[in-house]
Each structure stands twice: as C-alpha cells, then as structure tokens.
Amino acid sequence: MLGVVIVSTVVLGAALAPAVAPYNPTTAHFAAVLRSPTAAHPFGTDQLGRDVLSRVIFGARISLLVGVVTVLIAGVIGCALGLLSGYYGGWLDAAVTRFADVQLSFPFILLALTINAVIGAGLRNIMLSLVVAGWPLYVRVVRAEMLALRHRDYIQAAVATGARSGRVMWRHVLPNIATPIIVISTLQVSQFIIAEATISFLGFGIQPPTPAWGDMVSDGRNYIFVAWWLTAFPGAALALTALGVNLTGDWLRDVLDPRLRA
C-alpha cells in the first residue's frame, strides 16, 4: 500500500506541477546561483539560479510520460508477438524467440544507448530506443503462458466451436494471462524510468532546458564538490518513484494472484 501512496503522490505532483511548484522551473536567476537549501528554496538552487524543488516536481512529468508510454507500446508489441508465436509455433515462433533471446543478451542500457547514438538524442528518440530494447521480455512471458494454455480444454473448445484464431487469442487467452502481464508491466515502468534517467544522465536522452531527473543529476555531477543538493534531490526523487512503482507491482501481484505469493 505504501507503493500506491508514493505513486499517487508523484502522479498528482506531476499533473499539478504548475500549481504546486513554487517557482518557474526554467527561469534563471543569476543573482541566486548555487544556493544551499533554505526555507525559500528547500532543495536549493542550481548553477543558473533555478529552483531545484520546482525542477524536481516538473521532472516527474518526463519520467512518468516516458515510463508509461514506452511500457504500453513495448508491451503491446511484445504481447502480440508472444501470442502469435506461442499460438502458431513453427518458423514464426523459432524466428521471434531466437531474436528475442539474442536481444536480451545485449545489456538493456547499452543497447538503448547505442540506438540513441545512432538515431540522435531527444524525447521521441529515447522512447523509441526503449521500446526497441524493451519488447523481448514480454515475448518470453506471454509465449510461455500461451504454450501453457494452448491445450487447456476451454481453448480447445473455443477452437472446436469454430472461433477464429484472432478471437481465441483475444477473448480466451489474453484475459487469462492478464495478471502476469500487468505485474511485469508495473516493474517495467520503474525499469524504463531509471533507464531514461540513466541515458539522459549520460547525455544521449532528454536535452536541456527541459527539467528531467537524469539530466539534472548529470548537471549536479559537475558541482558535486560544492553543491551536493543538485545531485541528491533529483536522484532521490527518482529512487523514491522507482521504489513506489516496484512496491505497487509487488502489491498487485499479491492481490491479483495469491498463488504467486512467496
């Protein structure tokens, strides 16, 4: 439940950012550069005099946007391929699983980073690279579930009554494997949020002046000897969000599928 509280807080903060953030996140104040945390600026100010708290609040928007949208797209692609390859088997199955396995042999961050270096930085491209790097996990899980269900009586019955393949997969298989998909997707959201921040931190993702947590930590790194707050707060927001999403995933797993409880 703690997870749900954290996630709701982050989502609300991101949605109401213009109302709850005390300052404009991109307005520079060269008279108040690198101020340590005070009552007026609880998280201090950065090298351009921008309020770190406001930037952290606005930064949640990019993180949530990237996390949710990329997981949805990667999930739809991965689930579709997993269903098809588990249902039809044969050369399609062999091709898809081989490809997914090989892709999983590349470290996730390295693959996404390389794709970004090839296609260029920016919000759209970082989402594209995460989708390309992220779909194989769904294929693995959905295909395994599909294979387990393939010979169940109710699936055989649906096929016997003349239901078309698409209908069998959509109406009979998908609802029965929704739980693992939802649980993995939750955990993937935190993975993708951290991946986006990592890539932005390394300079291949979200570009300034858009407030994004990874990019803020990257700026903070240059001032680590004089201004710890630049690094500490955006990173803590990132860790807290990821923690909240993971705890929500654990909680969902326990609620939706008591068999998986360990």
């Binding site: 081989r98 090989v102 590349f106 470290p107 090839v118 710890w228 500490a232 860790a239 923690l243 360990a262």
Partner: protein
C-alpha cells in the same frame, strides 16, 4: 548428456551469429551509416569519398557478407579515431572489467545469498521485513545516482576513498559497491523466494518429520533444491557484469570495456562500438551456456530430460 551439450553449444553459436547480424544492422537503422562515421559538418564530397572508402555504396547484402567474413577472421575494421584495428583496442579493456566484475560478484555471493536464506528461514519476522525493505531499496536506487552519492560521502566529505580512477584496493571499493547494490538485491530476492518455495515442499516436511534439525533441513534439502533459480539469476548477472558496466565505469573513470564503449559512442567511433557491443553479447551468451550446463550438474532430471 553429450547430445544435450552439443545442442546447447550449437544454439549458442547460432545466437552469436545473430548477435553479429544485429550489430551490423544496428548502425544502419537510419538508412545512411556514413553520417554516423563523420562529424556533422563534413563536406558533401568528403561524405561521398568516405562512403566509397568504407564500402557503404555497395549493396547491403554484399556489405553484410564482407562484414561476416571479416568478423570470422577477427577483423572488425579500424577505429576511426586511433586508426588501428578495433578488436584489440576493446580486448585490452577486458582485464579491468573482469577485475571489477569478479569483486562485485564475490560481494553479491557473500552478502546476497545469506541474506536471502536467513530471510526465508525466518519468514515473517522482523529480520525478514528488514531484508525485504533493504532489497526493495537496492532495486529502486539508480546506479548512477548511488555512485555519485558514494563519491560525495566517502570521497568528498570524509575523504576516505579516491573519487575515481584505477589502482590499489581502495579504488575498487566505491565502484564495486555501486555495481553490487542492484545485483545483490535481485539475487537476495530470488534466493529468498526459491528457498521459501523449497521449504513448503513435501520432502522438507518428510525431512522434518524424520527429526532432522532445521539447519540440516535447510542445508541438505531446501538449498540443494532452491539452487537452480539462484544459479540462474547469478549467472545472468555475471554475464552482464563481465561484459562491462557502462554507467559505473564511466562515473568512476574505470578503464574497462563499458567506459571504452561509451567513449567510442561519444566520439562516434562506430567500428569500436560495434565490436564492443558484440563482445558484450558474446560473453553473456557464453556465461548463459555455462549456467545451462550447470543445471545438468545440479539437477539430474535435466540430464535425462
């Protein structure tokens, strides 16, 4: 057993070949790889001559075949920056990466597995709750941030440890802790859940009914049967760690493969990037093969399956 071994080795070889193909097409996603190999302000006639020099004006299948042919002979082209063959450049960076990976894996094995076992054996107690809280945190904290915070505390504030670089054992502490946090949390979680699973099985009840003490039940019956998931997750982690840790090596200026690939990415030295990414994948596939073969040793059912 020999048949199984050969089949798995064949699959790994096929996967390595596919990885080579992925790497080849990775730099061609945009359609025109020449742009990647040149600075953004290159003149049009320079672009044309480089395109011809690197063979990008030939049909793709021809390029692909000559790339494969080169790869088989260990020739992946030359680094654009250093003008020497790319493969040895990357290979030279592996010792530092292996040292860091070995240190981190040793820490993971010595810390995570015991935490998981104790958590499982004392399920539901305060010890277990603390274990779960710590591992949840470990999985949520981004590596790059943890690394910087460790630098700030132990390097900048306390001045106990060097902030970056490669040298005596003090240089190993912060990078290996940064790497360990996430992997240790993952291994501890998997250990806990597979030991809990094993402790619920009938054979454990039988062992207890026979009057074996709890320590013996845990060590001889539960652990042996919980070993496969633990070995799997440990192996996957080893596979990724041995291939280089881009983020950690970059933060700590560690002269390993990960940092080298990242620098090559920044300098747009794509021949080096291609070799690096390919080797990373090969190591992972080979470690995976070893893990699979270890199943046969851990669980006789696999041998005859």
């Amino acid at each position: 057993m020999v048949g199984y071994l050969l089949a798995r080795a064949g699959q790994t070889l096929a996967a390595i070949f596919l990885a080579l193909t992925v790497v080849f097409f990775l730099v061609r996603i945009t359609g025109d790889p020449v742009i990647l190999f040149l600075p953004p302000d290159a003149r049009p006639n320079d672009v044309a001559s480089v395109r011809h020099l690197l063979g990008f004006d030939r049909p793709v299948w021809e390029q692909y075949l000559s790339f494969l042919g080169g790869a088989v002979r260990g020739d992946f082209g030359r680094s654009l920056r250093y003008r020497v063959p790319a493969l040895p450049l990357v290979l030279h960076r592996f010792p530092a990466t292996f040292q860091l990976a070995a240190t981190s894996l040793a820490i993971v094995a010595c810390v995570a597995v015991p935490i998981g076992i104790v958590s499982a054996a004392r399920r539901g107690t305060l010890v277990d709750t603390i274990g779960i809280a710590v591992t949840s945190l470990g999985q949520a904290i981004p590596g790059f941030w943890l690394g910087l915070m460790l630098v700030w505390v132990f390097g900048v504030k306390l001045r106990w440890l060097p902030v970056a670089g490669y040298g005596d054992w003090t240089h190993f502490v912060l990078p290996s802790l940064t790497l360990t946090a996430f992997y240790a949390a993952q291994v501890a979680r998997v250990t806990r859940s597979s030991v809990v699973d094993a402790l619920c099985q009938d054979y454990v009840r039988t062992a207890r009914a026979k009057g074996i003490d709890e320590r013996g039940v845990l060590a001889r019956h539960a652990l042996r049967n919980a070993a496969i998931p633990i070995v799997t997750v440990f192996g996957l982690n080893a596979g990724h760690l041995l291939g280089g840790a881009v983020v950690t090596e970059t933060i700590f200026a560690w002269p390993g493969v990960g940092q080298y690939i990242f620098n090559a990415l920044r300098l747009r030295d794509f021949p080096v990037v291609m070799v690096g990414v390919f080797l990373t994948s090969v190591i992972y596939l080979l470690v995976n093969l070893l893990v699979d073969l270890s199943y046969a040793w851990l669980n006789p059912q696999v041998r005859y399956g």
